[in-house]
Subunit: 245 residues, 2 copies
DNA sequence: TTTTAAAGTGTATCTTACACACTAGTAAAG
DNA sequence: CTTTACTAGTGTGTAAGATACACTTTAAAA
């Protein structure tokens, strides 16, 4: 019996090695879609590619997954390496696998996206020269399937904006109602009624109105608000905190 | 000049080769989360793994991406190979990349999910013996991170059910209101009011009531409905057709 | 003919969404 | 000091949609 068992084990081991070994390996990339909000408009961060193929053309911020990291970590590392940006929370979006999407070699790419405040995230990386913000509708044509990736990210962002309090965490620490409304209007690409917007936001009960005013925006000045992270967290845990703008 | 150009080209080519060559390659897998609805309850399709590691344990229906296909195609192929199921539309869900998720070798897995009608999709594949339906809450513990994958799929399904007319396409061709309500109640895991549910569904205006009755469910019998695909498509194109149950 | 089991149906009340226009406050200009 | 200019800030009425709720109908089986 022992012999048979050992034989079986040997066969299994063999099978195991064979099984994985005969499979095709591929390169796995991450591409970061970084939306920026500058209190007025929605922008996107792009980079000039410094290697072939497609050297010199604009692209998303991308790089390859390494053996010792997971995809979330790869996205953070790549973003930091190419722009110097740190502490950006990105969310995984979609995995693109068209056979010839990268003519250099069979590469599958996982897209990540984030929405950040332009002012409070100034670049300081070595590659700063080659990365810059573009207005969303003035972005150049991108390499590979990067345009498609962006379209998908915009769709997700929009859907999110309609049903989740996206943006609260992503705004500058203190902001005016007008800025928050601008953000929503940029994402949804339509005008909202000021009174209804404020009523809705207030009914969510996650903002704290400060005594402080932003006097740069008008003669009268506009009250500043901060996001109440604790209240927000509690609501998310309780009921998912889905609403509708 | 020509010489220089050629030199540059050579350098570029070299760089190109180097660039891709020094990157780590990985195995890419797909795992299919197939939810089934049998007019009563939500089930999940699992398979007994027939190779090491973890041979003999239950797992999702999975396999590896090949060079000549994209991920969507891989998911369809793998599902068909292991269960004989055809014509299943699956949607990509998430890409799992924890470093040691598969102890056999570094493998990244892309999960796909679908919701199908159990009755109208009987197995006929060679592997039929090792695949079977489990009640969602009676499913065994699965290998790797497959439990986590299922949790994510349930969350997505639930979210979808709240805002999209999921299920209409996925039900048997003819169905009763009670069956549709059962489906929603299974997904959302809560009871709904019969009258309110019917009113809501009718207000969506995508079902056609037949003269035919299903006499198996009660003495009185229940009217059968069919899904109006054209109307549905039109609504999706016009306004995305988001609603709220 | 009676029993049984699920189907089918309507309304009143509450909540939320939406449309809509004027006053308030401050700094800068004159 | 007064006027001007500019954006912030505010409330209500109406319409639509969400929710709660219980009895009658139908046809087969006993």
């Amino acid at each position: 019996m022992k012999v048979i068992n050992d034989l079986e084990k040997a066969e299994d081991l063999n099978m195991q090695l064979n099984y994985y070994d005969k499979e095709d390996q591929v390169l796995l990339a991450v591409d970061c879609i970084i939306f920026g909000f500058d209190k007025e408009n929605l922008k996107i961060l792009l980079i000039k590619r410094n290697f072939e193929p497609e050297k010199g053309r604009w692209s998303l911020i991308g790089g390859f997954l390494k053996k010792n990291e997971n995809l979330d970590q790869a996205a953070v590392r790549v973003l930091n390496a190419l722009t110097g940006l740190t502490d950006i929370y990105m969310e995984q979006l979609y995995t693109h696998s068209k056979i010839d999407r990268d003519p250099g070699q069979r590469t599958i790419s996982v897209s990540y996206y984030a929405l950040i405040d332009v002012e409070s995230h100034k670049f300081d990386g070595i590659q700063i020269d080659s990365a810059r913000w573009f207005e969303l509708n003035e972005a150049p044509n991108l390499i590979f399937d990067h345009n498609e990736m962006i379209q998908r990210a915009i769709a997700r962002l929009r859907r999110r904006a309609l049903t989740n309090p996206i943006g609260f965490e992503l705004l500058p620490e203190k902001f005016t109602m007008r800025q928050l409304q601008n953000l929503y209007e940029s994402i949804l690409d339509k005008k909202l009624d000021k009174r209804n917007f404020i009523n809705k936001i207030n009914s969510l009960d996650v903002l704290i109105k400060l005594d402080e005013k932003d006097m740069t925006v008008s003669r009268k000045g506009a009250y500043l608000y901060v996001f109440d992270k604790d209240k927000y967290q509690k609501k998310v845990e309780e009921d998912g905190f889905i609403f509708k703008i």
